[in-house]
Amino acid sequence: MITSNRKPIVPDFMRPVAELEGQVEELKKLAPKNDIIINNKIARFQNQLVKLQKEIFSSLTPLQRLHLVRQSERPTTLDYIPGILDEWIELHGDRGGADDPALVGGIGKINGRNIVFIGHQRGRGTKENVARNFGMPAPGGYRKALRLMKHANRFGMPILTFIDTPGAWAGLKAEELGQGEAIAVNLREMFSFEVPIVCTIIGEGGSGGALGIGIGDSILMLEYAIYTVATPEACAAILWKNSKESLAAAEALKITSHDLKVLGIVDEILQEPLGGAQADPYTASQYLKKELTEQLDSLSKLDSQTLKKRRYEKFRRMGAFYEI
């Protein structure tokens, strides 16, 4: 699925694994084809390598996870869609003068059920990222999403959203066109829809830009994905007055899937293949497909009024306070 053939950038914590992997490959090339002893030894190396990788991935810090999901090899919404849907058509335009490439959507079919999908779309490499605005939607993106969701609501199609953005676009034009208003209206309207909504955080869930398509009956999150109120860098700059404190900020903000499950913000954590979704995008998409199908099966048993009431109560419960 990797379109360019340039060498992937390896994050620091993966470097030992990548180095050893390279060495094992070298050994394989050098080893005579039918020497059982040497081949056995190489196999043992490979096993140990897998173990090492598992160890590293089980103890990733929040900031390492953030770097992992920002890797350009990580599958994006449009990488998952063909693996998840039987057939699909991308739809365009907010009917207000724009078609935002950073937020995509369309209609499709998952296991025989018609759905509408919406997701943030990052690019790969500089050129594509500039075209996609690094997955940061303009107000028009959110209005396109709203338009598609209203379409889904009219035709009784469940809505699947895929969250993967550093945040809504912060720019002159975005302010002029009402970024705040566009997100706000989505938040309110998503509570009015009578069809099931399943949201999945597949990479980086950045603040209001993520929440703008993040109101659902089930909130799923990939194992290594993160979801945060402000990027650790911004938070460190504001609260610590020093952007170098982003490690501390990332720890303090509780942005990992496990932390958010404990806080009741995420319903399910989806397993990723060893090495993260980028190591094996196809398997990752199949895990995702299985869970989405199950969620849709159980949600579509509920009638629309129950669905809306559940959604309201789900978010109504969020918050921590005491009363004296």
Partner: protein
């Protein structure tokens, strides 16, 4: 004095000078200089004019208590949920423990969190009113702000009352992490219920209204009113300047800028706010 001591000497004398000038201007806030036009005025004059400069109509920040006095009929204010307190769900610590920061701010402001909610009458008409207070941790929105506003809107929906929220906030409260972000959703859901009953919701934007508050209930008013020259933004000006590396228009992210682009119904001076709200309420006859 040796030459190498010279910078030291200069620093000291400067510090001395600042101290000196402070001593002159400090008779404890009795005289206030307008930040905009520099008019020097007696503090009671400013207060009598609802903290609006009589010369240039610069709007000083007003506390939630002052706002209640300015807007609601005397003696009709009935506060709600005054005893809700945040629990510091993440055990957050930056340069200071969040729990300690909460206590200190509560002590300083006499508030439990950054919003006051309640019911009151405006020229005899009952309304549900929420007023954010920027003095409490920059008016940031955490669980308590979210819960209080949600309860306020639920009450408004139940009793079929119009709701008014005065916004003054830097955005979501980072010290409560994702729970803060989810308050945007929670309040918006309560607004959806309120809207479904065909009830009126007016949001009044005061300086500053930014971030998560702008991206939720601030921009969801059936009617949106702002005070003159208020800062209203989604993203901070500095963030935008850094990304586009260009100078921004002077009035960028001000009430006037938003008005020009069609996001506000009215810009109303604080001195006119009460009468304008009363007029608007009277034009929406709610008692069916």
């Amino acid at each position: 004095m040796s030459l190498s001591n010279w910078p030291l000497k200069k620093e000291n004398s400067e510090a001395y000078n600042i101290k000196n000038s402070k001593q002159i201007t400090i008779p404890d806030g009795l005289w206030i200089k307008c930040f905009d036009c520099g008019l020097l005025m007696y503090s009671k004059v400013l207060k009598r004019n609802l903290k609006v400069c009589p010369q240039c109509s610069y709007h000083f920040q007003a506390s939630s208590n002052e706002r209640i006095d300015q807007l609601i009929d005397q003696g009709s204010w009935q506060p709600m949920d005054v005893h809700l307190i945040s629990t510091d769900p993440l055990g957050f610590k930056d340069q200071k423990l969040y729990s300690q920061r909460l206590k200190d701010t509560a002590f300083k402001t006499g508030l439990q969190d950054a919003v006051q909610t309640g019911t009151g009458t405006m020229q005899g008409k009952k309304v549900c009113l929420g007023i954010m207070d920027f003095r409490f941790m920059g008016g940031s929105m955490g669980s308590v702000v979210g819960e209080k506003l949600t309860r306020l809107l639920e009450k408004a929906t139940q009793e079929k009352l119009p709701a008014i929220i005065l916004c003054a906030s830097g955005g979501a409260r980072m010290q409560e992490g994702m729970l803060s972000l989810m308050q945007m959703a929670k309040i918006s859901s309560a607004l959806e219920m309120h809207k479904k009953e065909n009830l009126l919701y007016i949001s009044v934007l005061t300086s500053p209204t930014t971030g998560g508050v702008t991206a939720s209930f601030a921009m969801l008013g059936d009617l949106i009113i702002a005070e003159p020259k208020a800062l209203i933004a989604f993203a901070g000006r500095r963030v935008i300047e850094q990304t586009i590396k260009e100078d921004l228009p002077d009035n960028f992210q001000s009430s006037e800028y938003l008005f020009e682009h069609g996001f506000l119904d009215l810009i109303v001076s604080r001195t006119q706010l009460r009468s304008k709200l009363i007029q608007i309420l009277s034009l929406h006859n709610h008692s069916k």
